[in-house]
């Protein structure tokens, strides 16, 4: 019988009436690599926060190394050897690698003075333990994301970690870096450390995990050895048959071409990309990180303009050198990072919606007609069913799904010809997700040409009629959604990983 590091029994947690976790049982054994899978809003992050003591569950019990905790505090969790590596890593950009690794330990020991020789020695040993080499005297701000992650892992190791939880660790890594990370994780396992890999990417589950745990709608739906799982099964359990949405059926096959891209290139980002997008189409662009999918979107939106190739809109070649160019030609962009790139959190919902169309309210002497402005905002609030009692409230008072609707409304108000959505439902709860999908499909049916950038395969299948696959800056494949299934697409993604080696 193997040693239990973590056991939870029947934990539940709800926020403002929404059941985030519903009677979950889970066990992690020593030296095990388990993968926790689930879509956004499935309860994964709530679970992690309960394990590290940030949230207290409404009911249920937590055992760490056999000790039972009624009220688990963050400090208890750390003492029991639980270390979470969040996506932001919590590193100090202005300090060196060595100091970042050793600092936690030095603070915990209540040190008053710094012995730099010791700091360097500690850091060197910590990096050796996970078998990587990073220069110790470089400041962290100069490191790549992958190296930052390794620094965070080494730091966790120094806290006598017995269970390392990694939250979406591969989102910002290239496939080569992902491979290197897998090697590190296997090394941890060899030292008897357990790793809980949290992810929503199917390929990772196959490549790394010994055990797969799937959450859906706050419940654990399956917990089984990885070899018994297939891509199809994982996709099935993640999405669930019962909530399967209808796919998008693209009717008007001979609609005019809205966007045509030929031989578009930008050094270090993507090269020689060509495709067409017809009015009423929803086309997905997918690929691993570093495949150039986001860079392509930013180029079409003028944020990081392409260096060569042509972009035509409605049959006319246009030059897009800046965001102003893109919006003038009717291209809208819903960014992946809604909070920092999409919204003005302290400003009202109305102001967030009308930002693109302020010009149209200008009357005599350039003065804004605030009545028309408020009316227009209210229209969109109703049109996209944004749940608020007053559009003059700040947008930060809304839930994630409603905030995303505000961003979409902002672009719709300016009547775009092409709308690019980057990760349209990241951080949106399951219910809202479907509603946003419905909105997107309706928009396409009304003749808008839509490009969806995402690595969420089930989502792409639910809303796109065509999917473009990118790999290392190139467009390598194209599928009609009707013609393939999710597992096949996942295999293609995996194949591209394997080819990359």
């Amino acid at each position: 019988m193997s040693e239990e590091i973590l056991r939870v029994q029947g934990i539940s947690k709800s926020f403002a009436g929404v059941q985030a976790l519903n009677h979950v049982d889970l066990t992690i054994n020593r030296g095990e690599i388990a993968c926790l899978v689930g879509e956004n809003g499935s309860g994964k992050s709530t679970f992690i926060k309960i394990i590290c003591g940030v949230y207290t569950p409404d009911e249920g019990e937590i055992f760490l190394n056999g000790r039972r905790y009624k009220q688990l505090r963050p400090i208890d969790s750390i003492h029991e050897g639980v270390q979470v590596i969040f996506q932001d890593f919590s590193l100090f950009p202005n300090l060196t690698v060595a100091e970042n690794i050793a600092l936690n330990q030095q603070v915990a020991q209540g040190r008053r003075f710094v012995n730099w020789r010791e700091v360097n020695a500690i850091a060197r040993q910590a990096l050796e333990r996970i078998n990587v080499s990073i220069p110790l005297d470089v400041t962290v701000s100069e490191l790549s994301v992958a190296n930052k992650q390794l620094v965070a892992i080494s730091r966790a190791m120094l806290q006598n970690a017995r269970l390392i939880i990694m939250d979406e660790p591969t989102t910002a890594l290239t496939h080569r870096e992902v491979e290197a990370l897998y090697k590190v994780v296997r090394g941890l396992q060899a030292q008897g450390i357990s790793v809980l890999f949290v992810s929503h990417k199917l390929n990772e589950v196959q490549a790394l995990a010994e055990r797969v745990i799937i959450f859906r709608n706050g419940m654990k739906v399956i917990d089984t050895p990885a070899q018994e799982m297939t891509q199809e099964k994982i996709a099935y359990y993640m999405t669930g048959h019962d909530i399967a949405e209808s796919r998008y059926e693209y009717q008007a096959k001979d609609a005019p071409i809205a966007l045509e891209v030929s031989n578009l290139s930008r050094k270090g980002a993507f090269s020689d990309v060509s495709f067409r997008l017809r009015a009423g189409e929803i086309v997905g662009v997918t690929g691993l990180l570093g495949s150039g999918r986001t860079e392509l979107a930013l180029a079409l939106f003028g944020a990081q303009p392409a260096e060569s190739g042509t972009i035509s809109l409605g049959g006319q070649t246009v030059s897009i050198r800046s965001i102003q160019d893109a919006v003038r030609h009717g291209i809208g962009y819903v960014p992946e990072d809604r909070l920092t790139e999409g919204l003005f959190l302290e400003q009202s919902i109305a102001n967030n919606i009308v930002v693109r169309i302020m010009k149209s309210f200008a009357g005599r002497g350039g003065l804004i007609d605030s009545v028309r402005k408020a009316a227009e905002a209210s229209n969109w609030v109703q049109h996209l069913s944004i749940k608020t009692r007053n559009p003059q409230l700040p947008v930060k008072s809304l839930s994630g799904g409603n905030q995303q609707r505000v961003v979409i409304a902002k672009w719709l108000a300016s009547l775009p010809r092409v709308l690019i959505l980057n990760g349209p439902t990241v951080g949106v709860d399951v219910g809202s997700k479907e509603e946003i999908h419905t909105i997107i499909k309706e928009l396409a049916q009304q003749g808008l040409a839509i490009l969806v950038i995402s690595d969420d395969i089930p989502e792409l299948f639910q809303i796109c009629n065509r999917i473009l696959l990118m790999q290392r800056g190139r467009l390598v494949n194209e599928f009609e959604t009707q013609a393939i299934d999710e597992a096949t697409l996942a295999d293609h993604l995996l194949e591209t990983v394997n080819q990359g080696q």
Partner: protein, 333 residues
Amino acid sequence: MPSIRNLLMRQEVIIGLTIVALSIFIGLVNPSFFSTANVFRILRATIIVGMFAMGVLIVLISGGIDVSFPAIAVFAMYVTVSLIRSGTLPDNLILSYILAALIGLGLGLFNAIFIAWLRLPTLIVTLGTLSLFRGVLLFFVGSQRIRIAEVSPSLTELSRANLLTVENPGGGVANLHLAFAFLIVLAVIVWLLLRYTMLGRSIYAIGGDREAAERVGFNIRRTQFFIYAFVGLLAGITGLTFSALSREADPFSIVGIELDVIAAVVLGGASITGGRGTVIGTLLGVLLITLMSSSLVLLGISSDWQRFVVGLLIIIGTTIPVLQARLRRRVAA
């Protein structure tokens, strides 16, 4: 191996090289630049700004900004000298310094209450206390200038004390004021503090990422209390030193220097957004500004150009890190 390019990415190196090049240039135009007397004169001119700069450096590294330190300095200085004049405080140099330091500490703690405890924005708080401290001083304590020679033999003695006396080959002597040693000792203390104590590292950590510093387990409130109290204490000591150097206690002096000191520290590579800054860089920044503004006459340029040149220096000095960052990004991409 640090390549030349990496070295040029360091503001200290750029400022240091500028100082060397400038010195050579001025020396070629006017050889008297390298005379001991002139070198000592320039070094003396760095004392006050340099001492203030050490405090400002710590504040900037922590991600804050303090404009009230000149008001603290003049407050501590004038109250101390007034008390000596009235006979309340015996005319003893050490006692005077202790009192000035304590007054500074107290006013610094007043800042800290608003900043560390109530978490109010540092610029606005210190703007308020700058006005408050100075107003209280002028209204309640006094607004008359006091000549040090008339009230305090001990401070007068300090004003004449020298660290180094060198005989000029052409006759006469060149003196380096004793207070230059204060600056050096202070710089060493601040350097040790920032580099070798956990308190110093917590200052960098807070400036780098406040939230992460909290997660690591640093007590941010305590660190901030220390920072503003320390700056106050430092200002008190510097204020009294200023009265010795200028041989008078003028309640209208010092205030107005705050933006110049901040400019010198930023020129020395400290980041206005926190997390970055070194003692060496700060000293070099102070030296460069002093050198520029005190050597124009040697170049045969009217001293009217002083402000203009310093302004130009600040603009160029603040452009460099922006360009460096762009270059780094391009190399990384």
